[in-house]
């Protein structure tokens, strides 16, 4: 088995051997081999063959797209533009993306756009006020302006999930 040749071919096709890419992705998301195979939509034996250089290429273009999406997500996680608590839902999104260009690209764009806006709002609120301040402000608004109070609480003090859900519920209004 010309493993070395295959690893060189992988380097040529993907910039580095797939074992390095897969290893980085597993470390970034705390996945074991089977977990990574599941997200990518590859069988465990196929992932193993690609990893060890017994096979050169990822034959399924949809899988290649998922590798790219995972790499981007890993970068975003490292930069802090994606929060740890959002990772599970993003992984699920990538796992279920069909790989058909129209479908996957449109959902991916829509979702990541929303996430960026939600993250921006959360960061802004936290930059101008502490969590305690935001809680007090929300309490004072509660009686007369409950919707605004909810925005302050959800985006200013809560986790990302409910904030993203709130954003998704309202985005059709603008």
């Amino acid at each position: 088995m010309p493993v070395q040749e295959n690893l060189d071919a992988q380097r040529q096709a993907y910039g580095e051997p797939l074992s390095e890419i897969f290893g980085r992705l597993r470390a970034a998301f705390g996945l074991n081999q089977a977990g990574l195979a599941g997200v990518l939509g590859l069988s465990a034996p196929m992932l193993s063959q690609l990893n060890s250089g017994q096979r050169v290429k990822i034959g399924n273009p949809a899988v290649l797209q998922r590798v790219q999406a995972l790499s981007e997500l890993a970068d975003q996680l490292a930069e802090g533009t994606v929060q740890q608590q959002d990772v599970a839902s993003r992984l699920e999104e990538i796992r279920t993306s069909s790989g058909q260009f129209t479908r996957s690209t449109s959902t991916a764009l829509g979702a990541s756009g929303d996430d960026a806006v939600v993250a921006g709002m959360r960061n802004l609120l936290r930059a101008v006020a502490s969590g305690a301040e935001l809680s007090r402000a929300a309490a004072r608004l509660e009686a007369d302006h409950p919707d605004l109070a909810e925005v302050l609480r959800l985006y200013g003090t809560g986790p990302a999930g409910p904030a993203a859900a709130h954003f998704a519920r309202h985005r059709s209004l603008f």
Partner: protein, 385 residues
């Protein structure tokens, strides 16, 4: 040790999620061999039970993987099937993307031959899709497909067998007349699903409802174009209109044969299957298990594995043929005798062909098991005589 079901089937490890319930590897104490089992709730099992009672004895076919036995316990029913090691057409497409033309044609032909057989016995499968098309672990050899998961199969003469007006089956593969009107068991719905399965093999992606077959094939991310003849056959199977659809599996097989796509290429080193390889997808046995069954001797932890007497399940309302009905021995299907590469095990992968069609699907992982199989065969022949 694992859970024991009905005193007979000892659950070893989960192999994967099925449409309903989990598929497990199990040790069949009575026959001393491994098999795949699925445990269903009684309510989900009704259709399959009826199917086994009425059909499985007749469904001996090299591409039909019907349950070989069942056992009941409390409100659960366990179905046993031979273990097929090579994953499914769905995992194959996941691994390799759009399949080479000849491979897709051969797989479609094998599927159609399974459908031809069950339809001639008056059975409609109703959930034909790539995930239910299982494969032998034939390595780089010729593929061998098994139509499996008869969980919602129905007799053609039994209208509206399962609950409700709602369509069963899986979106994307489900014929439009079924989605609109609910199931009147009709073999032509299986042919539609077969066409959609072939479409997935050729495009590398699950079909969407009401997809235009020719357009989808033209847009598929594949290196080689799909020959017009195959486009026409797939489109005539996945044809929304019942009147325009190919009506019987045999016709589609005839057209495939005429197209010449099933024949191997002239050159010896190109079988038309490209780089596709049929891996062994069954993981090695977990600790405490040997190819001959549960490891004997002192267990390192937990209770000692006592050899419980093999109990015969006494199912209420059981089929008269007993819970383990298997027909007489069929000639063994042709099998690839090579040594497929298995990344699971460093050693050579045992591919010992067992003497019977059904047994050959099992984990004949050692000579001892082969001998056991032979014994069982003799025993069964005696019983059946």
């Amino acid at each position: 040790m694992g859970d024991v079901f009905a005193g007979r089937y000892e659950l070893v490890d989960p192999l994967g999620e099925g449409g309903v319930g989990t598929v497990w590897r199990a040790w069949d104490r009575r026959r001393s061999r491994y098999c795949a089992v699925k445990v269903l709730r009684q309510v989900d099992a009704a259709s399959l039970l009826r199917f086994i009672r009425e059909q499985s004895l007749r469904l001996e076919h090299p591409h039909v993987l019907a349950p070989t036995g069942w056992a009941g316990e409390d409100d659960k029913v366990l179905f046993a099937m031979p273990m097929v090691r090579g994953g499914s057409v769905a995992t194959l497409v996941g691994d390799f993307g759009p399949l080479p033309v000849r491979l897709a044609a051969v797989l479609l032909d094998q599927l159609l031959s399974a459908l031809e057989s069950i339809h001639s016995e008056g059975v409609v499968h109703r959930d034909v899709k790539p995930a239910n098309l299982l494969l032998d672990a034939t390595g780089t050899g010729r593929p061998h497909l098994w139509l499996g998961d008869f969980g919602i199969a129905a007799g053609i003469d039994e209208p509206r067998l399962t609950q409700g007006p709602y369509a069963l089956g899986t979106p994307g593969y489900l014929a439009p007349e079924v989605r609109r009107q609910g199931w009147h068991p009709d073999p032509r719905a299986d042919l539609y699903s077969a066409g959609m399965s072939a479409l997935e093999m050729l495009t590398g992606a699950p079909p969407e409802d009401d997809v235009d077959v020719a357009e989808a094939l033209a847009a598929a991310p594949r290196a080689d174009p799909v020959p017009e003849a195959l486009v026409e056959i797939v489109a005539a199977l996945a044809e929304p209109s019942l009147r325009a659809r190919i009506g019987v599996a045999e016709d589609a097989r005839g057209r495939l044969a005429e197209s010449g796509l099933l024949a191997a290429a002239s050159s010896d080193d190109d079988d038309g299957f490209g780089e596709v390889e049929f891996f062994d997808h069954i993981p090695p046995l977990p600790e405490g298990w040997t190819p001959e069954g549960p490891a004997t001797g002192p267990a390192e932890s937990g209770p000692t594995r006592s050899a419980a007497p093999p109990l015969v399940p006494s199912p209420q309302n059981g089929p008269p043929t007993g819970g383990t009905g298997v027909g007489p021995a069929a000639p063994p299907p042709t099998r690839h005798q090579g040594t497929p590469h298995s990344p699971w095990t460093p050693g050579p992968q045992p591919q010992t062909p067992a003497p019977r069609a059904r047994s050959s699907k099992l984990t004949a992982t050692a000579l001892a098991m082969m001998l056991t199989g032979l014994l069982m065969l003799l025993l069964m022949l005696l019983l059946l005589a």
